[in-house]
Structure formats: structure tokens, C-alpha cells
């Protein structure tokens, strides 16, 4: 008996909607199922989208995608309780088409992306939670949703970081607390003009800003800030295995972070538009599940494709690329009339030949480096502030030689410790 659909895609996030779009554009019958009442209603990003992967799928996305601001200024700060040492890089070249990136909000962005799939011919249903995969012996033959079984030649699982389906499909086990970070975010409404002024941004442009240190009160993780058109996304990311040893809850950390003297003036007069929370798969290559089996592929956060390097945080571009590649492999398999694991394993091969798994492979040791180097979060931010204060604070006492200003704080940390950490960090990058 023929299946109800050529393909069923579970989850209308970046990976799922792109997979549905690509399959529909190739003339396949596709069902895209999303548990939220609309696409994006369960999703949250910091966040910033690196556009290269989207451009590959939708070359003219800039004409109508709801992009907040093009990011042309990058900042990284080490912060103590009341001090802030920042590296800032502003460049028009960050906005050029090969490497442009945009602040986005997933509500509007995901609705737009799902509408691209719908316009291409995918059938989209919202407000339906997929409860299980449908088995036909060892093969995945569809989904179970609302008590009904729906069949497809191939199922693409893109149900996000809390993928209950990859567990049910026996492709993954539940991630461990050291592999997962929780992100909390406040979307603070401010006028477009005020944001442009506070961040010295040209019209339509803005900043991405990452923080390590007191943002998470010395715990593994960091703070983030992105400028949207008329709101600011500000939040924290903290690794669960370490956060659960904190003295205060994450929402109190968030409040303290917003009150930091380098942050509070940027938010002044803004009003809270939304408070959100989401998990981030930060365990790197080691937590990537089995990516295919008979009748099934996994893409996006469900495949744990994400990297946080402290200066680059990426997941959405990997989701888009993996959704595209999964759909291309699925379409070829459908044409060949063979959606066995053997045929679908071309997905793994293509992903490993693409930037997605090449990046994950290149940075496979970085999660352990972050976790094993607590000084990044408590120690180095204070050291940096000590050096800066030594340089900039003038109180009329005789000047000290630069060598002492710089080296005394380093010696307090331990010169060898610092050298070893730098060496280990460079290796992991």
C-alpha cells in the first residue's frame, strides 16, 4: 500500500521547514508537523543567524525574511562584578554577502520560513504534537500524532534539542547535564532610534555581544546581547552540570547581569516584552546521535548540531544546512524507490563532507576545554580588569613600569597556568 506522504517532517524550526521546503520544491508530497500553535512559537534563539546556509536554499531571502538587524559590530567582554574588559570589532566587511549575519527572533523568522515551505507545496499542520514514530518491524514507516498513524516513505526528525523522537526511534540516548546548557533570554522593547544611538549603529545594522565571567557568577557559560530592530535580546547560557552548584537560581543571575554597570544603561527605559528559556546542545561531536536508520533521518538541534566557541555561537546555520542535505538525500532515495538506512546513509557522508560536521570535528575538544577551564569564568576576567585598572587609573602616585602593571596580575594567576590554558585553548580551536 502506498504511504500517505513521500516524506513527513517533524518540527517547523530551521531544519524542519528547510527540509520541507526543499522536498516540496522537488515535487515530493510533504507533511510538516509542528506542536506549537504556529511555527516558532516553541523556539528561541539568542540570537544571530549566519546567513550563508540560508542563502544556499533561498538566495533572495533578504527581500522578505524578517531579519532584525545586520550584525556589523562584534564585542566580547570579560566581566567582573562591576568591571568590563571588551574587545570590539566593527567592520562593514562583516556585513558583506559571503559572511553576513543577522539578529533574528524565532517567532517571526520561523513563521516566515514555514510559509516558504507551504508556498512550495508542503502541507503544514500546527498545534499537533507527534507522540511516537510508527514502526514497521525495524523500519520507521511514519508517525503517530493525536492517536492517528500517518505513513511516509521517509520521516525527517527535526523536533529540536529535547528530541523525544530520536529516543523513541532508538537513535539517541538522553544527553548528559554536562552536554547541555540552558539559555534564558529577555526581549526588551526599546525604540529603533534609541537602540541605534546606544550601539552606534547605522540604520538596519547592529551588534552582537558575548560576555564571560560574572554574567554567570563564575559558572561555566556566559551572557549574550543582540540588537534587534526595536528590541534587545539579552540573556545567559549556563551548562547544567555546573549551574546546579550555583548559589542563586538562573533567573536571579539574569537579574544581576542586567544590573551590571556596563549593561544597565543600555537597557534603561526598556520594557520586558518576553521572557524565554531553551536548551542548547553544547556537547559537540560526542553527543551527535545516529543520524539515520531505515526510513528516517535526523537534522538540526535534534541531531545536536551546535557549536559555542565563546566568540561564535552557531546552531541555526547548521540546522538549515542539515535540513537541506537531509531533504536532498531523501529526495534522491525517493526517486530510487529505496529509503533504507543503507541508501539514506549518504546523508552522513554528505554532512561530513560539508562545513557542518567538518566544524563539529574541528572543534570536538572545545566543550571539554571550556568545562575543564574554570578560570575563563572566574580568574581571567579579574586578571584582565586588574591589568586595565593598572593602565587607566591615575591617582598621582609615581607611575609603575608597564611590565609590572601587566605582569603582576598574570603572576597572581600563575604564568604557567595561563600559558597552558592558552595552549590548550588554541589546540581545541
Amino acid at each position: 500500500m502506498a504511504a500517505d506522504f513521500d516524506a513527513i517532517v517533524v518540527g517547523a524550526g530551521c531544519a524542519g521547514s528547510v527540509a520541507a521546503y526543499v522536498l516540496a520544491a522537488k515535487g515530493k508530497s510533504v507533511l510538516l508537523v509542528e506542536r506549537g500553535e504556529d511555527a516558532g512559537s516553541k523556539n528561541m534563539t539568542g540570537g544571530r543567524l549566519y546567513a550563508h546556509a540560508l542563502r544556499e536554499v533561498l538566495p533572495h531571502f533578504e527581500d522578505n525574511a524578517p531579519l532584525e538587524r545586520k550584525i556589523t559590530t562584534e564585542r566580547i567582554s570579560l566581566i567582573t562584578q562591576d568591571e568590563c574588559t571588551t574587545v570590539s570589532f566593527a567592520s562593514p566587511r562583516l556585513g558583506e554577502a559571503a559572511c553576513d549575519s543577522y539578529a533574528v527572533l524565532r517567532g517571526p523568522f520561523d513563521r516566515w520560513l514555514a510559509s516558504q515551505a507551504e508556498d512550495a507545496g508542503a502541507e503544514c499542520v500546527f498545534g499537533i504534537a507527534v507522540e511516537d514514530v510508527l514502526w514497521d518491524e525495524d523500519r520507521i514507516a511514519g508517525i503517530v500524532a493525536g492517536g492517528d498513524a500517518l505513513t511516509a516513505e521517509v520521516v525527517i526528525i527535526a523536533d529540536g534539542v529535547n528530541s523525544l523522537l530520536t529516543e523513541k526511534a532508538k537513535l539517541a540516548s538522553r544527553p548528559r547535564p554536562h552536554q547541555i546548557a540552558v539559555g534564558v533570554k529577555e526581549t526588551i522593547a526599546l525604540s529603533e532610534r534609541v537602540i541605534s544611538d546606544r550601539f552606534c549603529a547605522a540604520d538596519g545594522e547592529g551588534s552582537a555581544w558575548l560576555f564571560a565571567g560574572a554574567a554567570t557568577q563564575g559558572h561555566v557559560g556566559g551572557g549574550f546581547l543582540y540588537t534587534n530592530r526595536d528590541s534587545i535580546s539579552i540573556g545567559l547560557v549556563a551548562t547544567l552540570s555546573d549551574l546546579c552548584t550555583s548559589a542563586v537560581p538562573i533567573y536571579q543571575m539574569m537579574e544581576d547581569f542586567k544590573a551590571h554597570p556596563s549593561i544597565a544603561p543600555l537597557l534603561r527605559g526598556g520594557s520586558l516584552a518576553e521572557y524565554s528559556g531553551h536548551l542548547i546542545p553544547e556537547g559537540g561531536l560526542a553527543m551527535v546521535p545516529e543520524l539515520c536508520r531505515d526510513g528516517c533521518l535526523v537534522a538540526g538541534d535534534a541531531a545536536m548540531l551546535c557549536i559555542n566557541l565563546g566568540y561564535q555561537v552557531r546552531g541555526m546555520d547548521y540546522a538549515i544546512a542539515s535540513g537541506r542535505i537531509a531533504a536532498e538525500v531523501a529526495a534522491e532515495a525517493l526517486d530510487a524507490g529505496d529509503t533504507s538506512a543503507n541508501r539514506l546513509s549518504a546523508y552522513k557522508l554528505k554532512l561530513s563532507e560539508s562545513f557542518v560536521l567538518k566544524d563539529m570535528q574541528a572543534h570536538r575538544d572545545f566543550p571539554a576545554f571550556m568545562e575543564g577551564t574554570p578560570r575563563i569564568f572566574k580568574g581571567y576576567p579579574e586578571m584582565a580588569a586588574d591589568i586595565m585598572r593598572g593602565m587607566f587609573a591615575v591617582d598621582g602616585s609615581p607611575v609603575r613600569p608597564m611590565k609590572r602593571i601587566a605582569m603582576e596580575p598574570v603572576k597572581r594567576m600563575g604564568v604557567l597556568t595561563l600559558l597552558k590554558d592558552v595552549r590548550r585553548g588554541m589546540r581545541a580551536l
Binding site: 500553535e37 516558532g40 540552558v182
Partner: protein, 99 residues
Amino acid sequence: MIDAASWTVNVDEKLAVDKFNVDEENAHIVVRSRPSEAEFDKLVLCCPAGLYKRTPEGETEFDYAGCLECGTCRILCGDTILEKWTFPQGGMGVSYRYG
């Protein structure tokens, strides 16, 4: 034991701006009765919505209304003090407008 005396923020005020369709009939997360104190306190600290609470008397308290469906409790305590963790039924639960 958790010391909440220095916590100044009321997380319920943050949640009040979010849009929820709470499923009053079905709890999508259920905590076991008499949960381990140490495990429960992990969730007091890590749940972004502050749904795992200690009363002033130190009793444990949990309410799934206000859940952001992030999965923090599933990852930390899914095997220890949770009897059930699933997503709300389709269309129910939090509905981000910005995200």
C-alpha cells in the same frame, strides 16, 4: 540547603508577560512524591521559570503552569525525581511571540 533570602527577583512577574495556553486537565510534568532534596534543589536553581520551589517551611512545591518547555528538569532529573516528562499537548503550553 538552599538559602533564598538574597534572591530579589520575582520570576512570576517575568512569566506574566508571556503567552500561555495552560492545559488545566493534563500535567505534562509530574514530580515523584517525596523527591530527593538534593535533586529537587538542582531544579530550584536551574529551572528558568522557577517552577520548582521551596516554601518558607522548606517543603518542596511544583506547578507546571508557567513551564517554558525548555527540558532542563528532564536533563537534570529525568531519571531521579520526575515521574513523567513530556511536551504539552499540541497547541498548549507556552507560545513565544518573539522567541
